[in-house]
């Protein structure tokens, strides 16, 4: 099951966990200094190395062979970076059947191993990424130096090359106006907090990404420990804020109105859906209303524009999508 279709720990607050490792071959310049032909060679070498990974079935696809909307859908589901969807020459994607593992080849680095799991599961995600990394390492001569660690195209990833993040749903803290202060606080602790699902504006759907910033001079375990403990503190703060918020009748009204719109709208944009689901989810988690909030969060991901096109197997107009999206949500809420 993909992360957005399952229930994880702290559901409703910690939506998913992601661990990404950046790796490069010593034998080739970094992707920005390779032409499409050489990038393809690197992709093939890694593909070959991954044939020794037998824990699960992996599929290999050249990005240039995907329909543009298929590529964008992968970015909508956070399986690849947006840039990887648009610049496809000499790039390939390795994906596991349940979409937990996605490996971008010749993105910013030769190899970007990503593991995404539902809920808060930093250790599990790291262990899986670590295992895949160890398989690749047997065949690839990694660019590594004792002092700098794994060498990466951008020096911000030097050291472990590991970026771990948790996706947090924080409607109550956002409503309280606490996000700015929180961001400043976590920055001092070597972490970054930023809006997820953004098109420029911050925190659409009250969803944020908390990730480690420093990768050199700190071990993977210590970085994960740090991230996990800060995430748990934020979760505790969100719970406290929610406990107060659900006594606020204006907020309860907002929950019921959002639920009403989801059940009866004829058209829904992706952004509107994201925001409405945020309130309804709080209502469900606090026992105010009875809705399948996990399914709704899954719908936020699966009903994004390009992903909707993929599921329909054709390119729909924006208007068609908004109608279809509203219809699917109505069906879901029965």
């Amino acid at each position: 099951m993909a992360w957005y279709n399952t229930t994880g720990n702290e559901s409703g607050i910690v939506l998913s966990t992601r661990v990404r490792l950046a790796r490069n071959s010593e034998d080739y310049p970094f992707p920005a200094r390779l032409d499409a032909g050489d990038r393809e060679k690197v992709c093939e070498i890694v593909r070959e190395a991954l044939s020794d990974y037998t824990d699960e079935k992996l599929t290999y696809r050249k990005m240039s062979e995907l329909e543009p909307y298929e590529a964008v859908s992968l970015a909508e589901k956070h399986l690849i970076s947006p840039g990887f969807a648009y610049e496809t020459q000499g790039r390939a994607l390795v994906l596991s059947e349940n979409e937990e593992v996605s490996i971008m080849l010749c993105e910013e680095d030769h190899i970007r191993i990503q593991v995404v799991l539902p809920g808060l599961a930093l250790t599990e995600a790291w262990e899986k990424a670590d295992k895949i990394d160890s398989v690749i390492e047997k065949k690839i001569n990694y660019a590594f130096r004792e002092h700098l660690g794994y060498l990466t195209q951008c020096p911000t990833n030097l050291g472990t090359g590991m970026r771990a993040s948790v996706m947090l749903h924080l409607p109550a803290l956002t409503g309280k106006g606490a996000m700015r202060r929180l961001s400043t606080t976590v920055a001092k602790l070597g972490l970054t907090l930023r809006g997820s699902f953004t098109d420029g504006s911050e925190g659409a759907g009250n969803i944020y990404q908390l990730s480690n910033q420093v990768t050199l001079g700190i071990s993977e375990e210590a970085a994960l420990q740090n991230l996990s403990s800060i995430a748990m503190q934020i979760v505790a703060q969100e719970k406290q804020a929610r406990a107060l918020l659900v006594k606020d009748e204006d907020f309860i009204d907002k929950i019921y109105r959002s639920w009403g719109v989801l059940r009866s709208a004829y058209k829904l944009s992706s952004r509107e859906l994201t925001n409405l689901v945020s309130y309804v989810t709080v209502g469900a988690c606090e026992g105010i209303i009875d809705v399948p909030s996990d399914k709704l969060i899954g719908a936020v991901i699966e009903l994004q524009p390009a992903t909707l096109n993929v599921s329909q197997g054709e390119k729909l107009t924006e208007n068609q999508r908004d109608i279809l999206r509203a219809q699917k949500v109505r069906e879901l809420l029965g």
């Binding site: 970094f30 910013e108 990694y142 002092h147 020096p155 030097l158 996000m179 050199l216």
Partner: protein, 170 residues
Amino acid sequence: MICQNCKKKEATTHIKRVINGEATESHLCQSCASTLGVGNFFDDFSLNLPDIFSGFFGDSAFALGESRLDRCEKCGCCFDDIIKSGSVGCADCYEKFYRKLLPSVQRIHGKAGHAGKVPVKNTKKPEVKEKTMEEKIADLNKEMEKAVSEQNFERAAIIRDEIKKMKGEN
């Protein structure tokens, strides 16, 4: 609006980013924007004005054109290329331009060395890292002090000249 970097030309590139809740705006003219590699600088790294100019690559951003002849043998990249693109060319570049990259690396990550996973191949065969220019000079300085303390001024002078030469060359 006037470019915040050269303070001469009209600003045409406006960058607004929200990082950690802090909104920062930068206004640059076209040539400064492309010289500084704004736009493709660091996708997941904070980009605010102090960072562009004195941030990642430090004062070296102002030294464009200084070292175009000094290129990495493996990938052909010079340090200017690295600043402009925000991307290091290859693994060898990290050794070739170590001294120039180090202050920027330390500004993000601090001074500690790698503390995480090590590829198995590396543990079997621990590599001997070539000393950096800074380390070599530090060693020579120590040697010179020692020579002075032993009143071996002739030797101290030779070492001093050696240090001068190294600093001058790089």
